[in-house]
């Protein structure tokens, strides 16, 4: 599947600030980083050189899977502002 192509079917109004804030300390030592697999929008990517989680929050579908699967329970997750985020026309 071409995830990017699928995400392109959606209407987004991205915010300038991320509504997803992982804890960089915890991510560095996290063994599995399950958020990367679980996210249906491929929001998370581990940057080996920077030892940091890249968060493409503007693609977020606001499902909450990453929040629940976060092993350290340290991902700061909130809904985007009322006027921001994804719009499902079909759902």
């Amino acid at each position: 599947m071409n995830l990017d192509k699928n995400l392109a079917t959606l209407k987004y109004t991205p915010d300038t600030k991320s509504h997803l804030q992982p804890c960089s300390e915890d991510c560095r030592v996290c063994k599995n980083r399950p958020c990367i697999n679980a996210c249906p929008a491929g929001v998370y990517e581990w940057l080996e050189d920077k030892q940091k989680l890249l968060v493409k929050y503007e693609n977020c579908l606001e499902c909450g899977a990453c929040r629940i699967i976060c092993e350290k329970k340290s991902l700061k997750w909130e809904y985007p502002k009322g006027t921001k985020g994804v719009v499902f026309k079909k759902g």
Binding site: L61, G64, Y79, K81, V87
Partner: protein, 435 residues
């Protein structure tokens, strides 16, 4: 009214089926109800399979079939057990006068419900996120949004599966990955006539597929197909803990299912018009949060009200909304918004099918979590293997084929394994039927 400005009778957080039904119930009794919805319109953040259930919508809107945006009335439900390349499909078809369910597009249907609610006096404030609940001496007295604080005698939490608000006030603990499924779905545009031909249905008729196995063999997950007027919704839900330590991504599982030889022809030459994802509460009876406290009640997905055995959710949401609304009316009449007063919601819900059904299936998920590798893999494969054997023509005498199948079956599980499986099923059936 008290000394606080922005004060109303009931605030409902979330404009999905649970929230709207609570709001309408309250408004019909002459009280003021404000729905605060974070999306730009009701439904814009919602996803389901799916179908809405006629009986449950009628309770709120007796004439909804005349004006609601419905796609197709479902007349057939197919249960497909997908092997790696083969499948066994059982199908039930019937055209009763009143269909059990209609396929709908939530972006249209939820919006319609919210518009109906507005006509009945409900105020719907869109594009507004409730960030936290305002409490005073342990009682919920209002909500804090990005812009303003609003106060109410009662706050109803219909804020969906993640319900950060129920968590904020301690009604629930953190949800565990095994108690939710992540669902991914595609709406695929296909010519109406092609849909009719492929699913053997007429213009206004719909067909549902429930998909077992396939890319989810051995995993706790199910796929689904629903027919809309000129599109098909195809998706799956997989328990989140399945994705914890493996390299599997939910959309890859969906892609595999779409390519299965029994499914691919249904969606051939279609164009994906929308991809979506959502969480499904799967914890059931044992993982329900506390449903009420001083000044607050929890409804719908926020209360884990999903009967996953029967793919029911919106009907439980609608019913819980109505019952919370009725309880709010009683409380407003008596001017008593205490825990004790709102406990009547919990009681009503327990007396209704909602909690009775969740209780009936209270042990289901435990058994499935323990036995998924067996029930959702070996047995699914065995069902297909049986029909492969039964339909084979290969010069081998049938008696030999039967015994080969039986021996393979016993070998694959062992006597101990089989005994343990049968015992698990008997215990489960006992808990469903007896106590």
């Amino acid at each position: 009214m008290n000394d606080k400005g922005n004060k109303t009778d009931v605030i409902i957080v979330g404009g999905g089926p649970a929230g709207i039904s609570a709001a309408i119930t309250v408004a019909r009794a002459g009280y003021e109800a404000i729905v605060i919805e974070r999306g730009s319109f009701a439904g814009s953040k919602n996803v389901f399979g799916g179908a809405i259930y006629t009986e449950s919508v009628k309770e709120l809107f007796p004439e909804f079939e005349k004006s609601a945006p419905l796609e197709r009335k479902n007349i057939e439900h197919k249960f497909a057990i997908l092997g790696e390349n083969d499948s066994t499909i059982v199908s039930y078809r019937n055209t009763p006068e009143t269909p059990v369910s209609y396929s709908v597009i939530r972006g249209k249907f939820d919006r319609w419900m919210a518009e109906e609610a507005k006509k009945e006096g409900v105020i719907v404030a869109e594009e507004t996120v409730v960030r936290e609940l305002i409490q005073e001496q342990g009682k919920v007295i209002g909500v804090k949004t990005e812009l303003e604080d609003y106060y109410a005698d009662i706050v109803i939490l219909a804020d969906g599966v993640n319900s950060l608000l129920a968590k904020q006030i301690g009604l629930r603990k953190d949800i565990e990955p095994k108690d939710v499924a992540v669902s991914v779905k595609e709406v695929i545009k296909i010519d109406k006539q092609k849909i009719n031909d492929r699913f053997l249905i007429n213009d206004d008729e719909g067909c549902i597929y429930t998909l077992f196995g396939g890319s989810m063999l051995g995993k706790l997950g199910l796929g689904f197909v629903y027919t809309n007027k000129d599109s098909i919704s195809i998706g799956l839900g997989i328990t989140l803990d399945e994705l914890s330590s493996t390299g599997i991504k939910p959309y890859e599982l969906l892609e595999d299912i779409k390519g299965h030889p029994s499914i691919a022809p249904l969606i051939k030459d279609g164009e994906i018009v929308e991809y979506s994802a959502h969480l499904i509460p799967e914890g059931g009876y044992k993982k329900m949060p506390k449903l009420f406290s001083d000044g607050v009640m929890v409804v719908g997905d926020a209360a884990m009200l999903v009967n996953n055995m029967h793919w029911e959710g919106t009907n439980l949401a609608l019913k819980s909304g109505i019952l919370a609304g009725e309880t709010a009316i009683l409380a407003l009449k008596e001017k008593d918004f205490s825990k004790k007063s709102l406990k009547r919601y919990d009681k009503k819900l327990k007396q209704s099918f909602v909690i009775k059904d969740l209780y009936t299936y209270r042990n289901l998920m435990d058994v499935m979590h323990n036995k998924r590798k067996i029930f959702m893999d070996i047995y699914f494969k065995k069902i297909n293997a049986f029909f492969e054997m039964f339909t084979s023509v290969n010069g081998i005498p049938k008696r030999k084929l039967y015994w080969q199948f039986i021996c393979d079956f016993i070998k694959s599980r062992g006597i101990c394994g089989l005994t343990s499986d049968v015992w698990a099923v008997v215990k489960l059936v006992w808990s469903v039927l007896i106590k």
